[in-house]
Structure formats: C-alpha cells, structure tokens
C-alpha cells in the first residue's frame, strides 16, 4: 500500500483500495463504477457526498463519458482526451499523488479514475450547501446596499470584485488550519495599498499555526498587533460595499471561508465611529452624527463613573435644585451609590446578553421583564434611585449608538474599572484612569499605523479622510497615515 505522498497506482481496483484506506469509516465518500470504450476500460468516479452538486456530475461527467464512443490509446489518454474533448466541467486538472487526491476530494472535486492510467482527473463540481447572499443584519443602514457577505468565500470575493472592476484588485489565497484547511484570502488594490502593510498581513497569516479556523475572529486575534488591547485594532464588516470602500482607501481586506465577516486592516480609533452610509449623505449630517457617536462613546464609557464620582466626592458641582432632588431620592435607599450603579449596570448587561442569546420569539417577553422589572419596579421597591436608572439607561443607549460592535463592547468592559476609580478616588481617579488609557492608546499600532492618528501623530491632510467618512467630494484625498502611494481620489472637485 502506498502512502499519501506517493504516486497513484494504475489499476482502478488499487486506487479504490487506496481511497477506502485513507477514508476508512467515512460513509460520505461515494464511488460510482462504469465502463467506457465498449466495456474494455473500467472507470470509477469518487466524490464526497454533499460537497458536490450531483446534477453536475451526471450532466457534465457521466453523460458525456458514457455516451461518447472513445478508444483508449495510451496512458496519458485520460488526462488529455477527456479533459480536452469529453467532460464539460469548467475546472479540471490532472492529479498524480495520493495527497492531492484527498485535498481535492475534500475540496468538493469529483475524481475520475480509469484503469491503466497513472493519474486521475479532478473535476470541479463543488456544491456545498450554502446560502446565497444575505441581508446585512449586524450593520444595517438606511442608505446603501443591503447585501451582506455569506459563508462562501468565492461568493464573497465576487461581491467585492463586482464593486471594484480592476485587475489591480489582487486576491491572494492561502490555507490556514492544520485540520480545518480554511481558505483565507487577502484582497488589496495594488498601487493603492501600502506594500509594507500587505507584507505584514501576509507574513502574519502565514505564521498562524492553529488547527482550526472557524471564523474571521480567530484570525483577527492571531494577527493583531496588541493581542491584549481592549480596543479593536482590526475592523470587521459584513458589508461588501464597506469592504470595497476600505480597499479604495488603501486598506487590506482579509476574507475567511465559512465566515460572513471579513477583516479590514489597518483600522485606527476613528474608523470605529464611521458607518457605511456616512459617505452617502450630506456632509453636515456626517459631521453631526460623527460628533454624536463620539459623545456617545464617552457617555457609554464614563457616565456611570462620573455620576458616582460627583455624587460621592464633588457635591458642590451639582446645581442646588438637582442636589436637593438627588438627596431626597436617595434618602431612604439601602445601598451605597457605587453598589447601586454596579447593580444596575450588571442588570443591564444581563438583559443585553439574554437578548442576544434568546430565540427571537421569546425576546419580546424579555424586553417586558427588563423594562418593567428592572426599571420601574427596582425604583418602587426602594432598591435604586430614579437618577441611577436614568444614568444607566443613558449609558446603555449610548453604548448601542456605536456602529461598530467591537468598539462599543470595549467601552462596555472599560466602564467598570472607571466606575471603581470614580468610587475610590473621585474625578481625580477618573482623570488619572483616562490619562493612563490615553497614553496606552497613543502607544498602540494597527499594522504600523498609529492607532490614534490623525490626532497623534497629527496628520495634516488626514483630518477629513480619517476622522470621519465624508462624501468623496468633500474628502478628495486618501489618508496618508495608511498609505502614501496614491493620495488623490478626486481630481476635479468642482463636479459639474
């Protein structure tokens, strides 16, 4: 018996034996025997059930082979004759080794063996059960395409390719995962994307030595610059239009097979405050809504801690009338304010997590419980004060504003250390914590791009292109912090 690396045997029986040995106890391997050349040559095809499209096999392989009169000439006959004149399958290649045989079988190819041939023919009839393009659920927009990526990487690349019709859009393929053998593709536009960044991503992807890659998140964590950084340094998106936009900005898109989310790198802090539709609406609105998002981030990060700090340490900062109300509403509450806010924050996180995990049908009952029990009833039972509920509700709402899920999650996590700082050291603690965070943030990089650019280092021309996503007419240049090859996007700004 030959090993996997060896050449294939000539006889169909031996080949069948070989496959049965490699795929022992794999019931989804299917063989189909038939004869050609008037019964003189026995052949068989093998494929993995479910990985192929059965109609393709019968229509494009079996039918032409069995209905054509052929005369076997020599050993290379199979490869040349059938590939060139008989089979109507689009992609076909000759396979010589047993290792390739397993790869192709698992990749959804149908293998054709003929007696007496030292090679076999791999015919692409891949047809996994896959959904076609879906609708963007995670990043919905009011304006713009509603398409989203799907699990099939070839559909995903096609969705990008459809939006960028230039041969300069390069899509490089590699397999990652020793057992999952997941296809991962790097897409970038040559001449716009920075070669150094592309090289970095390529080499980091190559150095991944994991067995399973199920989602782009697995890869994200392997190729990030600072694996322990609480802030995301790689953007992810399910939107092909956003990916195309990112490519045109000189960024690199990493697609993972079986994952409807692609990665966009490099991504700096301000990228996480841009939504897809920002580039399609009035520039005034873009500016306004970006400021609102920034504000929401600060509220979501700091509102509970500032509330705690001011009520505990800095009562003089509260206007008299408000202070009177606050004191009155807190006069018969059992818990210290820190504990109270913590309680309500945790309650909110419970609701939020339960809402994410619950089947949609039960979700509405959860929202009733959440709204009534944790809002009104918590106040009426004398557990928390209405002001705390207001602060927690404002915080919760603000944390939903961010268009990028991973950034709002970062602020959700960091909220708690800030609350502890606020409760133990007041505003001083919050300022110290904020400074520490800021120092850390200016120190991190995303594939060589400073995370806080264009703030620090301040990029002179990058403000309009990096701080917010203005419509193209108002942001005619690519940010230089990401690439310097090709800066001009719009040559004539005057339009008509």
């Amino acid at each position: 018996m030959q090993n996997n690396e060896g050449l294939l045997p000539c006889s169909t029986e031996e080949n069948k034996q070989l496959l049965r040995h490699i795929f022992s106890n794999c019931c989804d391997l299917v063989f189909r025997n038939f004869e050609i050349d008037g019964g003189k040559t026995s052949c068989f095809i093998a494929y993995i059930n479910g990985a192929v499209r059965i109609e393709n096999i019968s229509e494009s392989i079996l039918k032409p082979l069995m209905s054509t009169h052929m005369v076997k000439s020599d050993a290379s006959w199979l490869a040349k004759h059938i590939k060139l004149t008989v089979s109507t399958v689009c992609a076909a290649e000759e396979i010589k080794t047993a290792g390739d045989v397993t790869d192709r079988l698992l990749g959804g190819y149908c293998l054709l063996f003929a007696d007496g041939c030292p090679t076999c023919l791999a015919l692409d009839v891949e047809g996994w059960a896959m959904r076609q393009t879906g609708e963007a659920n995670v990043e919905p927009t009011l304006r713009g395409s509603v398409e989203s990526f799907v699990e099939d990487i070839t559909i995903n690349t096609s969705l990008i390719r459809r939006r960028i019709k230039t041969p300069k859009l390069k899509v490089e393929r590699m397999g990652i995962g020793t057992i999952s053998k997941t296809a991962v593709m790097i897409a970038y536009i040559e001449g716009i994307a920075d070669d150094i960044v592309v090289d970095k991503i390529r080499s980091r992807l190559k150095s991944i030595d994991a067995d399973m890659v199920l989602e782009s998140g697995t890869i994200e964590n392997f190729i990030r610059d600072n694996p322990y950084c609480p802030f995301p340094t790689i953007e992810f998106t399910e939107r092909p239009d956003l990916s195309a936009l990112a490519l045109s900005e000189g960024r690199v898109v990493v697609l993972t097979d079986n994952a409807p989310f692609v990665l966009i790198a490099p991504a700096v802090f301000s990228h996480f405050f841009m939504a897809a539709e920002d580039a399609f609406v009035s520039p005034y609105f873009t500016v306004f809504i970006t400021i609102v998002r920034g504000l929401a981030f600060f509220i979501s990060l700091l509102a509970p801690s500032i509330f705690i700090a001011i009520t505990l340490f800095h009562q003089e900062m509260i206007p008299y009338q408000l202070l009177e109300t606050l004191v009155a509403s807190r006069s018969d509450l059992p818990f210290p304010i820190f504990f109270e806010v913590l309680l309500m924050e945790l309650a909110f996180d419970l609701i939020s997590e339960a809402g994410e995990r619950l089947p949609r049908a039960i979700g509405s009952s959860l929202s009733i419980v959440g709204a009534i029990v944790l809002g009104q009833a918590a106040i009426q039972s004398g557990l928390v004060s209405p002001s705390t509920v207001v602060v927690v509700a404002a915080t919760a709402t603000a944390s939903f504003v961010n268009p990028k899920l991973n950034m709002s999650r970062a602020s959700r996590i960091l909220r708690f250390p800030f609350m502890i700082l606020g409760a133990s050291m007041g505003l001083f603690g919050i300022v110290m914590g904020g400074l520490t965070l800021l120092i850390y943030m200016v120190s991190i990089r995303s594939f060589g791009v400073p995370y806080m650019s264009p703030f620090s280092p301040s990029g002179k021309g990058d403000w309009q292109a990096m701080l917010l996503r203005l419509p193209l007419r108002f942001a005619p240049q690519r940010p230089t912090a990401i690439q310097k090859n090709n800066v001009t996007r719009v040559k004539n700004r005057s339009g008509a």
Partner: protein, 404 residues
C-alpha cells in the same frame, strides 16, 4: 530578586501612593448630607457668637422623587464664629455641607464686632462659595430667619430671587462674598454691603404658603415679611449704618453698579419717568494749588421714556431737552444726598474716592492717607449729569389727556 520584579513592585507602591492623595474617606453618600442654605450670624450678649442656619432637609422616597424639602432651623452658640458653626453638629442629624449656602446674613451687632472673623472664615474656608450674598440686617439675624417663606419653598430661595432682582431696580445693593472681601480688604476705601430687613405685617397675600401658614398661626398674628432694599456701610471693618433705597441708588450710580430701573422727575406738577438702561460714571479728582481736593463726578445715562406729561412731546427737541434736564436734576439730587449721607453721617468713603485719588495723585495720597477720615467729609463734590433720552416707547403722546 530580579530587576523586573523590583520594577513591578515599585510600580505597585507608586500607584498605592497615588491613592493616598485622595481616597474613599473623602467621599460622602448623598443620603448623609444636609444642605445649608442660609447662615445667620449674631453676637450674643455674653460675648458669644450665635449662628442660625436654615438647612434644607430633602425628604422623599424612591417612589415619588421628592415630596418637599423641609427646612430645619439650627442654632448654636460658641466663643468664636468657627466654634459656633462647629457646635451646630450637636443638633444636626446629618453632615452639614456649605457648598450651596446662598445667603449670609449678619445681625447689626455682629456686623459691628465680627466682620474680621467673618471675613477670615470666608477667605479660608474652601466649602464657602464667593458667590454667596452678604447682607446685614437691623435687628438679629436669628429673628429674621424665623420669618416664613412667602411664596417659594424656602426663605433662601426667596432671598436669592430678591438679590437677582436688584439689577432690575438698582435700589438695593447685592454684594457677594467676593465683592465683600475685596471691599473690606481695600485699605484705601470703605465698603458697601447688602441690606435685608423685615417688616411685621398682618396683610394677606394670596400665595398658597401664606394661607397654609395662616391656618397654622393665630389668625390675627403678625408675621415677618422679608425684603431687601438699601445697603449698609462698612467702615474700617465695622458696620456703621444703613443707606435707604434712594441713597443706595445714588451710590450705585457712582460706583457703576446700576443696571436697569426707573427714575422719575417732576415737570409742571406732572411726573415723567425714564427707564434707564445704560449708565456710566467717572470720577476725577481735582487738586487746586492750595491742596484742596474737589471730586468731579461725571455720569452719563441713556434710557427711554416710560411715561411723559401731556404738554411735553418726545417728538419735540425742546421738550425732550426739558425732560432730560428734569431727569438730570433728579439724578443730581440723588447723588448729592447719598454723598452727603456718607460724608456727614458716616464719614465713610464707601464710594472709593480714596482709590481714585491714589490712582491719579499717588504722591498726594501718601501725605493725606493717614488723615483721610477727616479730609473725606469735607471734600467738595461736583456733579455733571447728562441724560440722553433715546427712545420713547411705542406711543408718542399720553393715552389719556388731562384736559379732555
């Protein structure tokens, strides 16, 4: 121990040191505080200091946000002001916080003896705000603070509102702690401070509070009604006396604190009124050869006519001039009586003549500074008042004619 672990330990120690700068012990739960809104200071007969505080005790529960703050009137005595304040804790149920004190009222006696102590307390204490109003009252502050609030929830809110209103009529002086401290610390001049008074009245008003109060008190009992009008004069760190409403405005014209208000003048037995909006005064000392000092006060007022007489039309230039002249006379009279009161009755340079002389004639000031108290009452003051009638409202003539 490796260098790395030493560094790590050093970092932890340094961060712990940071915690020493401030910490949990500085915190105060909101349910543990009472808000002092008004502080009254009196001197007790036996040389002690008596303080009276109005403390807002917000009550309520979580269900209904806030019912209504009840006001606790706290009293304490002590050898010194600070001690008396400290003794308040003996009767207070919660910690007293002073950030939101809006008004400080000094009884007349206390204002004579305790201003130095009071100023020091305010300047050193970091809980007191410099925006609080400082007022002096005729009798005892404690008696004044017994008065019920008229309309609003608490007396402090009412007094604060009255202080805000002074800019509408400028016959009362609203001095804040910062004004007060800078005035009493100025060694070249004396100072003005606010004044608060109380009348006993049985008259009824239609406010809800008044009704509820009447049902609680004896029906025919008189109760105090607090009002702010006029100002008080402080000389060499001691309170010396009050100025009435007109005198106060006379002073405020000169020190440029007049914002808005009405001045009336008589023309041919009829009253005409001016609503002034802009007033700018300037003091210029003049020293004659023999060292005699004359103070020239130049006052420019701009305003609009708010009521006019029949036979004076604001459309006529001559009539306008007449009216302006009448207003000028009225203002001049007000200025003169205010200055005379300060010069003759109190000999207190509350208008800051000394400062102006020091600015313009520093050498002269050095020689006369010591005797200023004697020189000031005899300084001749000249008034140059100019009223400019700029607008006459929406009608030119009076609505009702006398003759018709």
């Amino acid at each position: 121990m490796s260098m790395k672990s030493i560094k790590a330990i050093a970092k932890v120690v340094l961060i712990c040191h940071m915690l020493l700068l401030t910490g949990c012990w500085g915190s105060m739960e909101l349910r543990e505080v009472n808000l002092v809104t008004v502080l009254g200071i009196d001197s007790a007969p036996d040389g002690e200091v008596e303080v009276t505080v109005l403390v807002s005790v917000p009550v309520g529960n979580a269900m209904s946000q806030q019912t209504k703050s009840s006001v606790w009137i706290g009293r304490a005595k002590g050898n010194s002001l600070e001690q008396a304040l400290n003794h308040l804790n003996a009767t207070s149920s919660k910690a007293l916080i002073w950030y939101h004190t809006q008004v400080i009222i000094l009884g007349a006696e206390a204002a004579k003896t305790l201003i130095k102590e009071f100023s020091d307390l305010n300047a050193r204490n970091r809980e007191m705000r410099f925006s609080q109003s400082v007022l002096i009252t005729e009798g005892k502050a404690s008696e004044l603070l017994d008065s019920p609030a008229n309309v609003l929830d608490s007396l402090s809110q009412e007094i604060e509102g009255m202080m805000r209103n002074t800019r509408e009529w400028s016959k009362a002086y609203a001095s804040t702690v910062s004004d007060f401290l800078s005035a009493v610390s100025n060694e070249n001049a004396d100072a003005l401070a606010g004044r608060i008074s109380r009348v006993m009245t049985a008259s009824n008003t239609s406010s809800v509070n008044r009704q509820s109060m009447q049902s609680a008190y004896w029906q025919d009992r008189e109760y105090g009604l607090v009002y702010t009008e006029g100002s008080s004069v402080i000389k060499n760190g001691r309170f010396v006396g009050f100025l009435d409403a007109d005198q106060t405005r006379g002073c405020l014209w000169i020190i440029n604190k007049v914002k808005k208000g009405i001045i009336s003048a008589q023309i041919d037995e009829e009253m005409v009124s001016l609503e002034y909006r802009v007033a700018k005064a300037e003091m210029k000392p003049e020293v004659s050869g023999d060292g005699k000092i004359t103070m020239n006060i130049k006052l420019r007022i701009k305003g609009s006519l708010s009521s006019s007489s029949d036979d004076k039309s604001p459309l006529s230039l001559a009539d306008t001039k007449d009216m302006e002249a009448a207003f000028e006379d009225a203002v001049r009279h007000e200025l003169a009586q205010a200055v005379e009161k300060l010069q003759k009755d109190y000999a207190a340079d509350a208008l800051g003549f000394g400062c102006v002389i020091k600015e313009k004639h520093p050498k002269l000031w050095k020689t006369i500074k010591a005797d200023w108290e004697d020189i000031f009452p005899n300084i001749e003051v000249r008034y140059d008042v100019n009223v400019l009638l700029r607008r006459f409202g929406t009608t030119t003539e009076s609505i009702i004619k006398n003759d018709s």
